[in-house]
């Protein structure tokens, strides 16, 4: 009887210990799998779970020669030239640059300065009028990657003008060319898509998971990475499922569901969330043996290597309260925003803002005549009543900007010093670390334009 009584209690103790251990493991995971700061945005992804539609063939495209980080490509066509779909129209100058291709077949009608949907600057662009034939240029050929060397794959990627398609538009061949002495361990595939409204990557993950994984495997191959993680925010369970199915036979690729928190999709936050490492401001992910690629980018890599297609189209989500029918469209590079808005049913009311990119880091446009570029993932139309003329009040020192800052800055102090022109003093608060994610300005109850003022301080330090 004595043993009979003692026995269950021993088992109970054992199980309790097991449970405690599990709980501790679980909670430590919870603690690690998030980054400090950030904000919870309202889920406004109206265009999610809408199938990708092919946009109408544009009658005219405007293709800037400088769609990427680095030096602009230089044109190799003239006004009056006949071009075909996929034909190179501007060539990379230097290593950190990218080729630009025509996205339609037709005639170059002008080359000149044109509005560009990022950084508020103009870029030299070619205007091409379609001949309606949509003919591919000669020499587009399919490849079997198994028969190619790593160097050949990187060359194909370079030739195809592929850049990071998550927004930064960094030339991809540069990323994939690993400098002497560095080794790549891990590839992080970014499917977080943490900005509200934006759904282009989500739609692509649902519809072309095989291509995304194929591109990822090519990236892993040329960088000799041992493993890969695909980071997807938990608000996209369908994408997590589909990609999990797509990788079921891959041992070294894992899908990691991530907490829904902006800016989860920023490189350093992704590294923190998945690999629990913090990349300091002076270092690059490369120094930690990590390369980060976007799902749209690996999709484009697969298209370039297997099908020989240069980067001439991409998926763009068009949404916001100012648009009648939010959509995910497969769009030729160079298609004007006005054209996309028309295809989404036009404006639903009075328009306040048209934004290239997401609401947190996108650029507001002065004109609808701007083209989609390689880095445009979203077109957001906000209605007039959503765009308020915010009158900033004095800082009430609530400290919310500090809590929200993912890089651990004191935004209000930098802003205050910048406002007074005290840039030397501002420098000791490290405005250079700021990635302009916008969390501080988003939470500020006094509506102080914190990002703008920090940009002001940064510009002064950089140009000094």
């Amino acid at each position: 009887m004595l043993i009979g009584n003692r026995f269950p209690s021993t088992v109970q103790v054992f199980f309790t210990l097991m449970r405690m251990n599990k709980a501790i493991n679980f909670s430590s995971k919870l603690i690690i799998k998030r980054f400090q700061g950030g904000v919870y945005l309202k889920d406004e992804k109206a265009s999610s779970r809408k199938r990708i539609e092919d946009a109408e063939l544009p009658s005219k495209v405007t293709i800037p020669f400088h769609q990427h980080i680095g030096t602009p490509a230089s044109p190799i066509i003239e006004v009056g030239s006949q071009v075909k779909k996929g034909q190179k129209i501007a060539e990379a100058t230097g290593f950190v640059s990218a080729n630009v291709h025509s996205s339609i077949s037709g005639k170059v009608t002008s080359i000149g300065k044109n509005l560009y949907p990022a950084l508020g600057r103009a870029s030299i662009a070619a205007v091409i009028e379609s001949n309606g034939k949509d003919e591919w240029v000669e020499g587009i050929e399919t490849h079997d990657p198994d028969l190619l060397t790593d160097q050949q794959i990187i060359e194909i990627i370079m030739e195809a003008g592929i850049v990071g398609m998550g927004g930064a538009a960094f030339p991809n061949h540069v990323k994939l060319t690993i400098p002497e002495g560095k080794k790549i361990e891990t590839i992080l595939l970014n499917g977080a898509e943490c900005e509200s409204y934006v759904t282009a990557d989500h739609a692509l993950m649902l519809e072309e998971p095989e291509k995304i994984i194929d591109g990822l495997k090519l990236v892993m191959r040329v960088t000799k990475a041992k493993n890969a993680f695909i980071g997807i925010e938990k608000n996209k369970p369908d994408a997590i499922d589909i990609l999990n199915k797509a990788i079921h036979s891959e041992k070294n690729i894992k899908v990691v569901p991530l907490k829904v928190k902006y800016p989860q999709g920023w490189e350093n936050m992704l590294i923190k969330a998945i690999l629990h490492k913090e990349v300091p401001p002076s270092k690059l992910p490369l120094d930690f043996g990590i390369i980060i690629s976007n799902v749209s980018t690996t999709n484009a890599i697969s298209n370039a290597v297997r099908l020989g297609h240069p980067l001439i189209e991409r998926v763009v989500s068009i949404n916001g309260s100012g648009i009648v029918k939010p959509k995910n469209l497969r769009v030729r590079i160079g298609t004007l925003f006005s054209e996309l808005i028309r295809q989404c049913g036009g404006f639903s009311g009075e328009v306040g803002k048209i934004i290239a990119g997401g609401p947190m880091m996108g650029f507001s446009m002065s004109d609808m005549g701007v083209p989609v570029t390689k880095g445009t993932n979203n077109v957001l139309v906000l209605s007039k009543d959503e765009v308020k003329d915010l009158q900033p009040n004095a800082c009430i020192r609530c400290g919310r900007c500090i809590d929200a800052c993912p890089v651990g800055l004191i935004p209000r102090t930098i802003a205050l010093l910048a406002q007074k022109g005290m840039f030397k003093e501002a420098e000791s608060y490290f405005p250079i670390d700021c990635k302009e994610c916008g969390c501080c300005a988003y939470v500020c109850p006094s509506k102080i334009p914190l990002v703008q003022l920090i940009q002001f301080a940064k510009t002064d330090i950089i140009t000094r």
Binding site: Q36, P281, M361, S364, N393, C398, G438, Q455
Partner: protein, 322 residues
């Protein structure tokens, strides 16, 4: 292209959180209402009248000063209302009706406006107002009404619980429950800790205050009085008495947490709270006044810039030790 001329251009972010300064301040006003109503219940309608006068005169003072200085009238942001309300809540209900007017005037005219108005003041204006009143009218400011249900026929005023303890009459049977719900003498807003906690929960839920300052403040007071009892009478119920009496909860949840005059960071808040707790205890145990919360917060307000200078968030990717 005419349509495009109407587009708004600005830097990102293009969406903002809905919270604003007026929303925060008016929510603080709402969160103070339970304590005001409790004060009215225990001290009569005169208490409500004093809070009303304090609030209105605070708003009027701010408007008047802004008018004279040709500044934008910003009384709608609610910050002057909060100041006036808090001031009226830390004075007894028996004071003459002109006293809250003077207090509110001093709070705004000396502690807020000269520094540049909302966001720039160094000291909590309501507490400066109270400090001035206490220095100028010590008798009126320390003649506390007994709650109506406790008043005997010929005694309508009495000492607060803290004053009783201070004078060594701790043998008065102190009912902690009475203290907690507010059936004890004291200032209008300090009397019911229950009502204060209801308001504090609203602010915590809305995230307009965080737990850091109140917990470290009250925790420090409890700890110090715990140690005192441990080496003294071992009457640990006194810890509860210390926590529920005087302006501790009002101070910890509504005054020490004032965004403008407390540290920016949460770690800074913990230090601020601990400092306030220590000073409160020193005044309560050794000082000439029975209550120390007011001066403790004011003294720590002065230290806030120093705390902010040394307590900074950790930069991403940079170890703190370096």
């Amino acid at each position: 292209m005419q349509e495009s001329k109407l587009l708004t251009i600005s830097t990102s972010p293009h969406i903002r959180d809905r919270d604003s300064v007026p929303k925060i301040m008016w929510t603080v006003v709402i969160s103070l209402l339970p304590a005001v109503f409790a004060g009215t219940y225990f001290f009569g309608l005169r208490a409500l009248l004093i809070v009303f006068i304090g609030t209105v005169s605070s708003i009027a003072t701010e408007a008047l000063i802004q008018r004279i200085l040709h500044k934008k009238i910003t009384v709608y942001d609610g910050s002057a209302a909060v100041t006036g309300m808090l001031l009226a809540m830390v004075i007894p209900s028996g004071v003459p009706l002109w006293m809250p007017i003077i207090g509110s005037f001093c709070a705004i005219a000396f502690a807020k406006a000269p520094f540049g108005g909302i966001g720039y003041n160094i000291f909590n204006p309501a507490l400066i107002g109270r400090a001035i009143l206490l220095a100028s009218f010590p008798v009126a400011m320390t003649t506390w009404q007994l709650p109506l249900p406790m008043q005997a026929v010929d005694s309508v005023t009495g000492a607060t619980t803290l004053a009783i303890i201070k004078e060594g009459h701790a043998d008065h049977a102190l009912s902690i429950w009475n203290l907690f719900i507010g059936r004890s003498g004291g200032s209008i807003g300090e009397t019911s800790e229950l009502a204060l906690l209801i308001g504090a929960i609203l602010l915590l839920v809305k995230r307009y205050i965080t737990w850091h300052i109140p917990v470290s403040f009250i925790g420090t007071v409890a700890l110090i009085f715990g140690i005192k009892e441990l080496f003294g009478d071992r009457d640990f119920a006194m810890i509860m008495v210390q926590m529920f009496s005087g302006g501790l909860l009002l101070g910890a949840f509504f005054m020490a947490t004032d965004m403008v005059t407390s540290p920016l960071t949460k770690t800074g808040g913990l230090i601020f709270g601990a400092g306030t707790g220590i000073i409160t205890c020193i005044i309560r145990i050794k000082g000439g006044y029975p209550e120390g919360v007011c001066y403790a917060i004011l003294l720590m307000n002065a230290v806030t810039p120093l705390i902010d200078r040394y307590v900074k968030p950790r930069r991403f990717g940079i170890s703190r030790k370096k």
